[in-house]
């Protein structure tokens, strides 16, 4: 059993992830930023605006910018590599990224829940008995076990049953909506052991209430 509370405490003690940026290939590196500089990751609805330029690398007279993959602060820069020829995959910069609320929740739930993925792109429904239960008392009233017939897969007017496979527990979260098309591999439901429900709920509430994000983060 995972100690969810300990996990949260651990995250609170160090609310950062260190993102190491490495060179994509060989070339002469020119660094653009010093430690302490604020950087931002890709922006825009389609992430079409590139992140801050961290450095440029030149190979065969082709100068290529290297962009910040995420928001944060430049923790360290390998200044000895500036204007030097470097090998591919040489780390040259570390970005300290402060975890956002969503990232913390995702990390905790990823460890605490079992995510059951959709096998193909289709519309998914619960079987009628389960559906009734979900509507009446919420998804957490449903206990699932391996081999249980849980979903109806509906695609191009053909419907077929789909059995759940995974650890037994209760449905903590439902990730699909009525008449939504779910892509293959996307999670359908998140399952957790029944005795952990209260703990997870508590941790989620605490994250929602207590986690603070610095300005400009996200």
């Amino acid at each position: 059993m995972i100690d969810v509370k300990a996990l949260l405490e651990e995250m609170k003690a160090s609310p950062y992830t260190m993102v190491e940026v490495a060179t994509p290939h060989t070339g002469v590196l020119s660094l653009s930023l010093a430690p302490g500089a604020q950087v931002r990751g890709p922006l825009g609805s389609w992430k079409e605006k590139k992140g801050t330029t961290l450095a440029t690398i030149e190979r065969e007279r082709n100068v290529k910018p290297i962009h910040a993959p995420t928001n944060g602060v430049v923790e360290s820069v390998a200044s000895d590599l500036d204007t030097a020829f470097v090998q591919a995959a040489t780390p040259f910069c570390t970005i300290r990224h402060y975890l956002t609320k969503a990232e913390v929740l995702a990390a905790i739930l990823k460890k605490a829940l079992f995510l059951f993925p959709a096998p193909e792109r289709a519309k998914y429904y619960f079987v009628p008995e389960v559906d009734k239960k979900v509507r009446a008392s919420g998804s957490r009233a449903v206990k699932v076990r391996d081999g249980m017939e849980l979903f109806i897969v509906s695609r191009m007017k053909r419907e077929s049953p789909l059995a759940y496979s995974g650890p037994a527990g209760i449905i903590y979260a439902v990730y699909f909506g009525l008449a939504d098309n779910v892509d293959a591999g996307d999670p359908l439901i998140g399952v957790c052991p029944a005795d952990q429900l209260a703990v997870i709920q508590d941790v989620v509430n605490r994250v929602q209430a207590e986690w603070e994000e610095p300005e400009g983060n996200g």
């Binding site: 825009g44 079409e48 190979r59 065969e60 007279r61 082709n62």
Partner: protein, 754 residues
């Protein structure tokens, strides 16, 4: 109470004067405000009859100042007038100019596009004691005095499609069309049917409509205006504007502003002036036929006299158009043209039936073509000697005559003979097969056929193979080397992040790979010369009309220098190259818009060259290919001289296609705005080279005007393909093969291609 109402009326007039003065500090406005305030103060203590007297004096003073201000109006003031919510709109015109009307295709917000209003209206005339009801189809943009759902008269693609539909209805019913242009520009989105594509369809439709079209322009903003503006008679309201781009848009380009930055008011004023957008300017340049005078400071809904005048002008314009194509018109035409007598009486006393006979319809389309053909001739440079011009006309006449004999006269008789030969040939073939069958069997047994196969196999094993569609597939052996390939360096594919493409070595990429990424197939831009050398047969390119040159018709500041620079750098005289060439021995006439000359923008010279190329293809019975290396749109510095090329060129290609020509368009790189929304977009066979971007407005303009964030692949050729704008996407290395295939398959018996 009455006085209070009248004071309120004056206050509205004052607010209006203040609004149209814009940011300018106007002494007259202050004076009017002070006079009004003073009167209000004084009126409290005065007896009623004295108040009425003084108020009349104040009203006269207002009228006097308004007239004075009217004489000082700048072009930008006129832009503010047409955009003002108090400006007359199409509904007012329908109420006051026509005697009865029914709205079609939806009403108010319950319409597919409330900014496009269509109505079936009646004009009732009493002539010689007889009452005539004359139906017309009224089409126009509706601004609705600032109603939000009208979108300011900015019509969405489906609104223009609605207009196109009712134009066809009018044609079926044989009734004239009155169009009223009240638009700042089209709504630049690519959702089906697509802004550019639909405007092109409208223009193509109007180019061949066999009913009289009379257009009246109040606010004529670029492509949106052209969508319903291709008319036999074009009137313009004296306080309106007709322009290639809004003054703000021009200022953003002139000032090289980035998205979100606002242009300074002085620059906008200067641009409005430089673009020559007013009614008088357009009349002087010949783009409108008549200017309808408005009351001082522009027409508003309460100006009933103005509507009366507009009614007469519209009737008169329609009468003139109809009479000009009718056989019996002498006295009525004279009466309409005569400047004497009461205007109203003259117009209303003449009855002209507005439906046309079949012959008159043909004459009407011809006259429309000629009307636009004659426009904008002053706006480009043609330094050819007079004798050269005469010999050019002679050559063209010879092509027409020889084509007539070759394709029309001989063909008719040749057909009978050819059919007979065909029949006899088929009979002989059957006989030959019967007789030759035993002989073939014997030959097969002896193994005669094998030697060929062996020879082929030997050749394939001993000689260098040629990858299908590869290096020797697309190159015609011209030996052309791109300057980009001379640079010994690597380049990054712009889609490397998504597809993991490795760096590409420039000499290989721009040499054998023809600018195509070896990993993801992205097409890098290639210079226009590459196509000249690699698509067409070796040494088959023969350029014509190369001395026609881009000019600076509006004496726009800086354009002369920029043109000079472009001419020097490219060695071209304008962005359009027109030439005859061969594709695997099939002769074609090509008009090529090259991106390296001012972004491939289209002005009067480019339009003229395009039309002449279409004419040449028609006269010589060759297929016509418009190859768009790249175009940024209409050259805004030429103002309406540029935008008028949209209807001009569309008329020319329609004429070419109607006479049986095969018109193929091929887009490469970036093709945007006016040209795509007219003479390019109207082709039934439009192709794109992979990685081409096709659309109406660029991402920046869409964001600025609509506030919509668009995805990065919004203008991608695949999007254009999915909404049916283009018919296929080609690999650059296969252009030659595909073009040949297209000419063979689309050029059928009835199309010119050989």
């Amino acid at each position: 109470m009455d006085i209070e109402k009248r004071i309120h009326g004056l206050k509205t007039r004052l607010d209006y004067v203040r609004d149209i003065s814009g940011h300018k500090d106007n002494e007259n406005v202050r004076l009017l405000a002070a006079k009004l305030a003073e009167f209000e103060e004084r009126a409290k203590a005065l007896p009623v009859h004295e108040v009425a007297k003084q108020f009349t004096a104040l009203e006269d003073f207002f009228t006097f100042v308004e007239k004075k201000l009217d004489r000082e109006l700048t072009p930008m003031d006129k832009v503010r007038i047409v955009r003002h919510p108090q400006r007359i709109c199409l509904r007012d015109i329908l109420e006051n100019v026509y005697d009865n009307y029914t709205e079609l295709g939806g009403q108010d917000e319950y319409s597919i596009d409330p900014s496009m209003l269509i109505a079936r209206a009646y004009i009732t005339r009493r002539v010689g004691g007889k009452v005539y009801n004359q139906p017309v189809m009224v089409i126009g943009q509706e601004k609705g005095h600032g109603q939000e759902f009208r979108n300011g008269g900015s019509v969405k693609p489906w609104g223009n499609a609605k207009a196109q539909h009712y134009m066809k209805v009018a044609q079926t019913e044989n009734i004239p069309i009155h169009t009223y242009i009240f638009t700042p520009g089209s709504y630049p989105i690519e959702e089906p049917p697509g802004a550019a594509q639909q405007i092109a369809r409208n223009l193509y439709e109007m180019a061949g409509l066999s009913v009289p079209i009379v257009a009246c322009i109040s606010e004529g903003g670029s492509g949106g205006a052209e969508a319903i503006g291709l008319a036999d008679a074009r009137l313009m309201l004296s306080h309106g504007y007709y322009s290639v781009i809004s003054p703000e848009g021009a200022a953003a380009i002139e000032g090289r502003l980035r998205q979100g930055q606002r242009a300074p008011a002085e620059l906008i004023e200067a641009c409005a002036k430089a673009l020559k957008i007013t009614a008088d300017d357009n009349r002087a340049m010949g783009y409108v036929d008549r200017v309808v005078p408005e009351p001082p400071l522009g027409a508003r809904p309460e100006h009933y006299d103005f509507f009366k005048l507009l009614r007469q002008e519209m009737i008169r314009a329609t009468d003139s158009v109809v009479l000009s194509v009718r056989g019996w018109n002498f006295f009525r035409m004279m009466a309409l043209r005569s400047g004497r007598g009461d205007e109203e009486k003259r117009t209303e006393d003449i009855y002209v039936r507005w439906s046309l006979s079949a012959q008159a319809r043909e004459r009407l389309i011809w006259r429309r073509y000629m009307k636009f053909r004659r426009m904008s001739r002053h706006a480009y440079l043609d330094p050819r000697h007079y004798l050269d011009k005469v010999s050019g006309w002679g050559r063209e006449a010879w092509w027409s005559v020889s084509s007539f004999f070759k394709y029309d006269f001989f063909k008719k008789h040749q057909k009978k003979f050819a059919h007979a030969v065909e029949e006899i040939g088929a009979e002989v073939q059957v006989l030959k097969d019967k007789v030759g069958a035993p002989l073939g069997k014997v030959r097969g047994l002896l193994g005669n056929g094998r030697s060929l196969d062996l020879e082929k196999a030997g050749k394939s094993l001993t000689e260098l193979s040629c990858w299908e569609g590869g290096a020797c597939g697309f190159l015609n052996g011209s030996g052309y080397l791109s300057p980009q390939a001379r640079d010994d360096r690597t380049v990054t594919c712009p889609r490397a992040d998504e597809h993991g493409c490795l760096d590409l070595w420039a000499p290989e990429l721009f040499g054998d790979s023809a600018g195509v990424c070896a990993f993801c197939g992205h097409h890098f831009p290639m210079e226009s010369q590459w196509y000249l050398h690699n698509v067409f047969d070796r040494e088959s390119v023969f350029e014509f009309n190369k001395r026609i040159e881009s000019g600076n018709p509006l004496s726009h500041e800086g354009l002369a220098k920029a043109l000079e620079k472009a001419k020097r750098e490219t060695g071209q005289k304008c962005s359009c190259l027109t030439f005859e060439a061969k594709v695997k021995d099939v002769r074609v006439v090509v008009a090529m818009l090259t991106a390296n000359f001012r972004g491939g923008s289209v002005g009067a010279a480019e339009g003229e060259k395009f039309i002449r190329a279409a004419d040449r293809a028609r006269k010589k019975h060759y297929p016509f290919l418009a190859y768009v290396h790249g175009t940024a749109g209409i050259r805004i510095q030429e103002g309406v001289n540029g935008v008028i090329q949209m209807p001009r060129c569309t008329l020319a290609v329609r004429r070419y296609m109607e006479e049986g020509g095969l018109y193929v368009v091929l887009y490469d790189h970036n093709s945007y705005a006016g040209p795509v929304a007219s003479f390019l977009g109207c082709s039934p066979y439009q192709f794109a080279v992979r990685s081409a971007n096709i659309g109406f407005a660029g991402p920046g303009v869409i964001k600025e005007t609509t506030g919509i964030d668009i995805p990065p692949d919004y203008h991608d050729a695949h999007q254009a393909l999915s909404r049916g704008h283009i018919v296929a996407i080609w690999d650059r290395r296969e252009i030659r093969e595909n073009l040949y295939q297209a000419l063979l398959t689309m050029g059928g018996r009835n199309l010119y291609y050989r």
